[in-house]
């Protein structure tokens, strides 16, 4: 066993406390990242996971799909713009519904199953292709169950379960456009027509979606074009939520790194006598530096394992109201980042080790 691991074995309390402190900090980073990711996904999922390259809103929509009103005839005009391979209308509204968990808000989406604008991420079942069928991202919904729109009492049969398709932190139900129009007509019998909110565009192969979005806006009067990522970023509240969580996660991350860096620096300073002795007996600086690297790696590995368990437990126990799951990519990325930056912070210790004069072990200086 290496000297670094032997020391850890003999100083279980000291390294246990450090690993515990780092575990809590990694837990915070992971938990906040997971929550912020889930929250943002719950705000944006329906737009982000649309099967389209470009979205077209009305120019008066102020970048918000729910503020957009388009005449259904716009779909054909958009489809005629160069660079557009296909276009399909999307309509959305927020309504009350009887959900498996009880009465609540539901974002109802209407789309044309034969055109762009269908939701991606069918986890189970299929997309609707007949009247009053629906694919949903609703907690507790199962294939074959029914969701009832209120106050019209229109039943929708669940034929597909979606993931990552929530919108504005509300559950979503996708139906075909005729079903959507029928539902809204039933709720508003005097409405002259049911407008679309957006046109989903699939661009021709090789086209730049940003260029096609501008082209649509320039060609079809009263419209504004967005790439999907642009449309997601402009959803109200998303950028400020992202920014706030980004700062929280970033600060926690920096604090973790500083704690690890300072701890190992303190440990190194405390062990200068030992390091000096080891240098005097023939240990190279590289060998001593490696022992610091081994200890940092061991602490990060142990702390990360504990943190992952804590996050898993917290997510299982927490009632967030939005679907939250631990993303392996996020976990691996966070742990790797903590490790790499901790090693960088360990350079402070290695610098101290490099400055050791082995002659001091003999008391010659």
């Amino acid at each position: 066993m290496s000297i670094a691991l032997l020391e850890m074995r003999r100083a279980k309390l000291r390294f246990g406390l450090l690993s515990g402190a780092v575990a809590l900090l990694v837990f915070l980073v992971l938990f906040l990242s997971t929550l912020s990711g889930a929250l943002i996904e719950s705000f944006t999922g329906a737009i982000k996971n649309l099967n389209a390259d470009v979205l077209v809103y009305s120019s008066s929509a102020r970048d918000n799909i729910q503020g957009s009103r388009l005449d259904p005839s716009v779909v054909a005009k958009v489809a005629a713009v160069p660079g557009v391979a296909a276009a399909g209308g999307i309509a959305t509204t927020t309504t009350s519904a009887q959900l498996p968990s009880g009465k609540g808000d539901l974002a109802l989406f209407g789309f044309d199953p034969t055109k762009p604008g269908a939701p991606d991420g069918v986890k189970e079942g299929r997309l609707p292709n007949a009247a009053n069928e629906t694919a949903v991202d609703v907690a507790g919904a199962t294939i074959g169950s029914t969701i009832t729109l209120l106050p019209t009492n229109i039943p929708l049969e669940v034929v597909g379960i979606l993931s990552g398709a929530q919108f504005s932190a509300a559950p979503t139900a996708y139906v075909d456009l005729p079903s959507y129009q029928a539902a809204l007509k039933a709720a508003n019998p005097n409405a002259p027509f049911i407008p679309l909110n957006a046109v989903a565009v699939e661009t021709t192969p090789g086209s730049d979606p940003a260029a096609v979005a501008s082209q649509v806006a320039n060609t079809v009067p009263g419209t504004a074009g967005y790439t999907i990522s642009d449309a997601v970023a402009k959803i109200p509240g998303v950028s400020s939520v992202s920014q706030t969580f980004g700062i929280l996660v970033g600060m926690t991350f920096v604090i973790s790194i500083v704690v690890i860096g300072f701890f190992f620096l303190i440990l190194t300073v405390q062990k200068m006598r030992v390091f000096t002795l080891l240098r005097a007996t023939g240990a190279s600086t590289g060998r001593l530096a490696r022992s610091v690297v081994v200890q940092i790696t061991a602490v990060v590995v142990v702390a990360s394992a504990v943190a992952i368990l804590l996050v898993w437990g917290a997510l299982k126990g927490a009632s967030t109201g939005i679907p939250v799951s631990l993303d392996p990519t996020l976990v691996i990325g966070t742990v790797l980042a903590v490790w790499v930056f901790s090693l960088a912070a360990g350079l402070l210790s290695i610098r101290r080790i490099r400055s050791i004069d082995p002659a001091t072990a003999a008391g010659a200086r």
């Binding site: 032997l6 100083a11 007996t281 023939g282 240990a283 082995p358």
Partner: protein, 249 residues
């Protein structure tokens, strides 16, 4: 590596000289603030000899053995250990020299506090990678046995007595089968009887193993176990005939 011809004044003809120190000077600082810690010191020690270096505190004893052991570089002069000129070595070469050819017993034993007695020996064995892990473990056990520490092998230094710690330090110094063993004030933290035992042990190990040993001490009672005695006063090294040892100190 360069090899210089040396002709030290005090070469002993009892055997082949393994260590030769010729006109070695160590100066700290520059100009009018310069302090000469060692002034043109020369000595020669043959294989199998155990010599003592006597002198009061601050006389330059530790500085001299630090230069001999490759911990310090002399300002001028030549130090040769066997076929290697220590005084010409780079820092990296000195690190290797210390790991492979020199065994140190520092003042107050200086063991790694979080390693057991056995692990303290095994760690230095891992530095030059002279021995396989198995061979190193066997040698460590043998050494600890010879030093009467078999039943203390798995104790960390704080669980050992002062004498036991000093014996572990001796074992560590012998672990890599070095050519030269440098011992700095081995009796400083021990009572007279224990100090005597430790020095006897050192003398026996040096003789039995055919090593060369230098012991720094200011305890005149310990010189009886050594083959020749050098005195050092204010950085000036002289060979003692045993009658004028550190008069007045």
């Amino acid at each position: 590596m360069t090899t210089n011809t040396v002709a030290p004044a005090d070469v002993q003809q009892t055997g082949k000289p393994i260590l030769e120190v010729v006109d070695v000077t160590k100066t700290y600082g520059e100009g009018h603030t310069a302090v000469t810690a060692i002034a043109a010191a020369s000595l020669s020690v043959a294989e199998g000899q155990f010599v003592s270096l006597l002198g009061p505190s601050g006389s330059g004893k530790t500085t001299l053995i630090s230069m001999i052991g490759g911990l310090l570089t002399p300002t001028s002069g030549t130090i040769r250990l066997g076929d290697q000129v220590v005084s010409d070595m780079s820092k990296k070469e000195l690190t290797n020299l210390r790991a492979e050819r020199v065994g140190f017993v520092f003042q107050s034993s200086n063991l790694v506090p979080f390693l057991t007695a056995r692990e303290n020996l095994l760690y230095v064995a891992s530095l030059p990678k002279k021995h396989s892990r198995k061979a190193a473990a066997k040698r460590a056990d043998e050494l600890l046995g010879e030093l009467g520490l078999s039943d203390r092998a798995n104790n960390v230094p704080e669980k050992l007595s002062g004498g036991e710690r000093q014996r572990v330090a001796i074992g560590r110094a012998l672990m890599n089968d070095p050519d030269l063993i440098l011992v700095d004030e081995p009796t400083a933290a021990l009572d007279t009887a224990l100090g005597r035992q430790v020095v006897q042990l050192l003398a026996r190990e040096v003789k039995q193993r055919g090593k060369t040993g230098i012991m720094v001490t200011h305890d005149l009672r310990m010189v009886e176990y050594t083959d020749q005695v050098f005195e050092i006063l204010d950085g000036h090294l002289t060979k003692s005939d045993g009658t004028t040892l550190l008069d007045g100190h």
